[in-house]
């Protein structure tokens, strides 16, 4: 029970993710088949829909934008500051910080990850591992979106009796960039507004907020 409580944040979002994905699968399947039937075209079983490009592009276009959002947020907050925001570092602390502050090399303690202490390429990899992983997932999701999106777009084109287009033409097309940018704008708005709103607004008990009584001008203080 204690173990469950100590991992409740990850578990909560894991359960929400699976439930939402299942909901998306059923809603997307019904919407796809309704459109196909209205156009006099073949419908898909749920199994075929789940392996279809239509489902894959809808999933991957959202994944890529979420991982891009966190990639930018993790990397941008190294150097960029926001006075009064708990999302920002203290105003005199921009940059990669000293080895001592980051507990790497000779400053690693007995509880530090081994790669933090050994130095060289392994310490560099560990130092950037969060950004590298988020960036890799972003790029793979975006690639998946482009591949699935090309197939889905060509299904629509064939249904309209147009000739299909190649991958290169697709990634330069309005459809690809419309799907991409409509996701990016919402992510950038959400993360930017959170950094700014958290200057003046509070959520008692949340580490994403300053303590309720903390000054609006206090920067880099989390509750």
């Amino acid at each position: 029970m204690r173990r469950l409580k100590e991992h409740s944040l990850g578990l909560f979002f894991g359960v929400l993710f699976v439930a939402a994905l299942i909901g998306q699968a059923f809603a997307g399947w019904h919407a796809f088949n309704a459109q196909q039937a209205a156009d006099g075209l073949g419908t898909l079983s749920l199994g075929r829909y789940l392996t279809s490009s239509d489902f894959a592009v809808d999933v991957s276009e959202n994944w890529q934008s979420e991982y891009l959002q966190f990639l930018f947020y993790i990397a941008a907050t190294v150097w960029l500051l926001q006075r009064g925001s708990p999302e920002s570092k203290e105003l005199d602390n921009a940059g990669l910080e000293s080895d001592e502050a980051q507990k790497v090399g000779p400053y690693a303690d007995e509880r530090s990850p081994r790669w933090a202490a050994v130095g060289g390429i392994r310490t560099t990899i560990l130092s950037w591992s969060l950004t590298l992983t988020m960036g890799t997932i972003f790029l793979l999701s975006w690639l998946a979106q482009s591949i699935a999106g090309q197939v889905a777009r060509n299904e629509e084109r064939l249904a309209s009796l147009q000739d299909p287009i190649g991958w290169t033409d697709y990634v330069l097309s309005a459809d690809f960039w419309s799907r991409t940018l409509q996701n990016w704008q919402s992510e950038f708005l959400a993360v930017g507004s959170m950094a700014v709103l958290a200057i003046y607004l509070r959520q008692r008990g949340s580490p994403e907020s300053k303590p309720v009584g903390e000054a609006h001008s206090a920067t880099g203080v989390e509750g």
Binding site: G42, I137, L140, S141
Partner: protein
């Protein structure tokens, strides 16, 4: 693990453009062979239900007679099939046919489509809806 899942999805999806070409091409060949043989009933059975009904309404006669009255070309060879999910296109030298995958297999949704320039949709003598 997430990286592996996404990589698998990308590799899986990469095959979507190529799968089942043979089946769609076979259905198209079967359709044109029936038309060439004057077997309207068999040709109509290769059409999607909506295409069959649209053709009969448009021509004011049953599908087997109506499809033979379309003066459809008799393309030679297997043609070049391209499949994207539940849709396929088979291109011959001067003719293009479009197919959709139904639960009981590929069916023709448009035939008698001459070549077009650029992004224009084909204008076909047999079409759904």
């Amino acid at each position: 693990m997430a990286v592996g899942t996404i990589t698998g999805a990308v590799l899986g999806l990469a095959g979507c453009g190529m799968a089942d070409d043979g089946s769609a091409a076979d259905r198209a060949s079967h359709f044109y062979a029936a038309v060439a043989a004057g077997d309207g009933a068999t040709a109509c059975a290769d059409l999607a239900v909506d295409a069959r009904e649209t053709l009969a309404e448009q021509e004011g006669e049953p599908c087997p007679e109506a499809v033979l009255a379309q003066d459809l070309p008799a393309p030679s060879g297997a043609g070049t099939a391209r499949t994207y999910g539940s849709m396929a296109q088979v291109q011959y030298r001067d003719e293009t046919v479009f197919l959709s995958r139904f639960p009981d297999g590929w069916r023709v949704i448009a035939a008698g489509c001459p070549p077009v320039d650029g992004d224009q949709p084909h204008r076909c003598s047999v079409e759904v809806g």
